[in-house]
Structures are given as C-alpha cells and as structure tokens.
C-alpha cells in the first residue's frame, strides 16, 4: 500500500486522531468528578476559613459546609452561618491587584462592625512580595478585627495589632497593599449595603 497517497494519509490521520482523542476522553471522564470535587473543596475550604470555622480533614470540610446556607441578596451570594448566637456572613470577592485578579473570601458579622476572617483563593501578585498576602500572618490579622467607621486601613508602618480598623501591610509591597485596601473596603461597602439595610 502506498503510504504517501492521499487516501491513506486521510484515513491514517483520522484513525490516529480518533484513537488518541478517544483515550483522552476516557481519562477525562474517569477523573472529571474528582477534579470537580477538588474545586468545590477549595471554595468550601476558603469560605470556612473566612468564617473562622476550624477543620482538619477534607471530610470535615464537607460536613461543616453542610451547615452553611447560601443566601441570595440582590445579585450577591452570601454564605451564612450561626455561631455562638451570632450570624456571620461571607462573600467571595474578586478585585484587581498589581499583576492580576485577586480572588478571596471575606467574612463579617451581621452588622458589619468587624471582619471575621479573610482567605485568599488565588492571586498573581509578586511571589515573596505582594504574594505574601496569602501567608497566615497576613490573613490572621482579619480574624475578629473590629472596623473603624466601617472601614479598614492597610498601614505601611505596621504595629497595628490591637488597633481598630487597621492591619499591617506587607513590607515593601505598596501596590498590593493598596489594592487590598481598595478591594476590601469596596467589599465592606457592598456587604453593608445589603446587610445593614435589613435591620
């Protein structure tokens, strides 16, 4: 058979494509559920962290997340949880950082007088500089942080522990810190507009 002929080439190309794509589809099918689960888990973990719910294993995440209600306010999806007689809310946000979008979850109390927690889902900030917003020390600052006039300030000089409405910036990362301040305050305003309105 002439392997350089047009019919052979067409048939061969078709078979090769078919076989490889078929195998790929099989693999994709076999793992798609797992991939989906991973993504859900990621989001659930972030929401739980922002609401300062403790967990250890992945199973716990699923169990705990079952207690959380997703509620719609206007166009916003808020995650609501009851804890210690209080109602806490969290919302997934997106905003522009220095290099790209910063995605995260911010948790607040019912009256939006304090933040409950912050979790970063993903970001493209400079690793080791702005990227340090993803480090525990930065995020822990938002655990039960009272707000000042409903706002947050990211302070460059640091030493803000115990001060209302102020958190330490990442040293050297002026741009990212400024972006975080903008994103978070805009987020707080939105939360206030929906939560504050409903007395």
């Amino acid at each position: 058979m002439n392997k350089q002929s047009l019919p052979y080439t067409v048939v061969f190309s078709f078979i090769v494509c078919f076989v490889f794509v078929f195998l790929l589809s099989l693999t994709h099918q076999a793992t798609s559920e797992l991939v989906q689960l991973n993504q859900e888990l990621r989001q659930q973990r972030a929401v739980l962290r922002a609401l300062a719910v403790d967990f250890e294993t992945d199973d716990q995440i699923r169990a705990l997340f079952a207690d959380i209600e997703a509620v719609e306010y206007d166009d916003m999806t808020l995650y609501r949880v009851q804890r210690g007689g209080e109602t806490l809310y969290a919302r997934i946000f997106a905003g522009s950082g220095v290099w790209g979008t910063i995605n995260g979850v911010l948790g607040v109390d019912r009256e939006v007088t304090r933040t409950v927690g912050l979790e970063i889902i993903d970001h493209n900030e400079t690793p080791g500089l702005g990227g340090r917003i993803d480090e525990p020390w930065f995020k822990q600052q938002f655990t039960d942080k009272p707000l000042l006039d409903g706002r947050l300030e990211v302070v460059r000089e640091g030493g803000t522990e115990g001060q209302d409405g102020k958190v330490d910036a990442v040293t050297g990362a002026t741009g990212t810190s400024r972006s975080m301040q903008t994103i978070l305050n805009r987020e707080l305003e939105r939360l206030q507009s929906v939560l504050g309105g409903e007395a």
Binding site: L129, E157, T171, G172, T174
Partner: protein, 318 residues
Amino acid sequence: MLQDMFMKQPIMRKVVYSLVPIYLFALYMYGWRLLALSAVVFPLGILTEYIVERSRGKKVSEAVLVTCMLFVLILPPAVPLWIAAIGIIFGVFFAKELYGGFGRNIFNPAISARIFVWISFPALFANGFMIPGAFGAAGEAGVDALSASSPLAVLDSGATPEFLDVLLGFTGGSMGEASAVLIILAGIYLVATKTAQWRLIVGTLLGAGALMSALYLSGVSPNYPPQYAIFSGSILFVAVFMSTDPVSAPKKPLSQWLYGFLIGSVAIIIRNVGGFPEGTSFGVLLGNVFASLLDEIMPARKKPSKPAAAKKKAEVSA
C-alpha cells in the same frame, strides 16, 4: 605596586575628583555609615575585577573606582553592609566583567548593582534611610520615619519640604543624591573638562522636567511640583553621573538627546505611576538597553563627532 595594578584612565579620574565634594558632604550627613559602606564596597569591587582581569592578563580599570564610589553614594545610609557586598560583587561581575570588562559593558555596573539588591531586599532599602546631619549623629539619635524619608516620600504623602533644604541637600534619601548644588557644580566641572557629554545631562533633565510638568499641570500627580521633582530624588545625580557613563551611553548627538530623554521620562513614569518610589535606576537600565540601537538607527555622519573621537583616543591610550 598600585600603579601596576590599575590602568591609567584620566577621564575616570576626573569623575572621581568631581565626586569628592559630594562624598564629603555625605560624610557630614551620615558619618561612619558612609565610611563603613565604602570600606566594604571598594575592596570587594576592586577584588572582583582583579580576579577576573588577572585571568585575562589585564589590569584593573580605574573605572571600577568610579563604579564603587557611585554605588556607595546611591545606597541608603543604613543599608546592611552585606547587602552592599552582594551588590558590588554582582554589579562588577555580572554587569561588567562577564561582558568583557571595561569598555564592553552594556549596562552601567553601579546601577545594575543597585537594582539587583534593591529588588532583592526592598524592605531593607525602605528602612535604610536616616535623618541626615552632624556626621551621622542625628540619624543614630532616633528614628523618625517622616524626617528620615526622602523628599520624594514627603511629597508623596502630600506635604511640601523646605525648598532651600532640598536645594542644598539637607534632606534624607540615598547618600549622594541630596545636595542639588554640589551635583550641579560637579556637572559643570565634568562638562567643562569634556569628561561628560552635556547633551546627555540636559536630555535627561529635559525628559524628566517636561513629563513632570505635563503630569503636574494636567492634575495627574498634583503632589509633585516640577521644581521639587527635579531637585529631589536622584534625577540630578543620575543625569550628571549615570546617563553620562561614556561606556554605556550612545555616541551620536541625536541619539544622545533621545537617550537622555528616554531615561528622564521613564524615571518619571515609574516614580509617579509604578510601584517603586523612585524610577531613575530603571530609566538608566532601559536607556542602556536602547543605547546601541539608537546609535545604529541614526543616520551615519560624515565624520565622527569630536567627543566620541576623543573618547576613543582616551580608551586607546588607556
């Protein structure tokens, strides 16, 4: 012994002379910090060049003294000594010797050194500024964030520093950049002795000044009045000592204008819009990148311009 180690480069020596008053002024402002940094930078810079050049069978260039001196003067005073050490070794080795030593480097070694350590350790740089004066005693006495910061940072925060202070240099900042008067005098000396090309200096200042005025007048950056912006920060220092570096600057008159303009405007863009407080070093590096290209695309002249020819001769005689 020392005579054998260095090649003679009269041009470079003149640059060193012109830097002496600025160095002394910095000594008054920051005292032992300047001496300590010099004690680290000079031996390491010379040693790095010596080791590489020895394997080539050549002598150390006097240009390395200029590199070391400039590098010390563009450091913040309280920067840790080991950072200065890393910087100068990197600058001399990567930016100069790897390209083939004196006369072949594309990038200005002092600026490369500064940028490398600056990007690596931004926090230590930001905290490296001190209150100047009284041979460093003022700085050691206590740290007051605002008065230790450079006039640029003061402007950034919306306040206005005393213009006379800015002009005379009694302000914070990197060690050598403060005194506008001394830098201008050094510039005049360098141009008068044909050591530096005036087009490069004026081009850089024009580029910076024009863009700065435009940004100020259009209200984009109302915190930076142009007269301050020229005399604060390192624009003047960079215009006089960095953009005039005979090795990394272009040789044709028109490309020299463009080169200076590029450095000045990039510096201002980064200063006003970018994440870094000052952008002159980036401006110089970017200018360096385009230097040979600018020379290449300029129409050929009938005969080489005088300064370029003089420089060639100086290199040959060296």
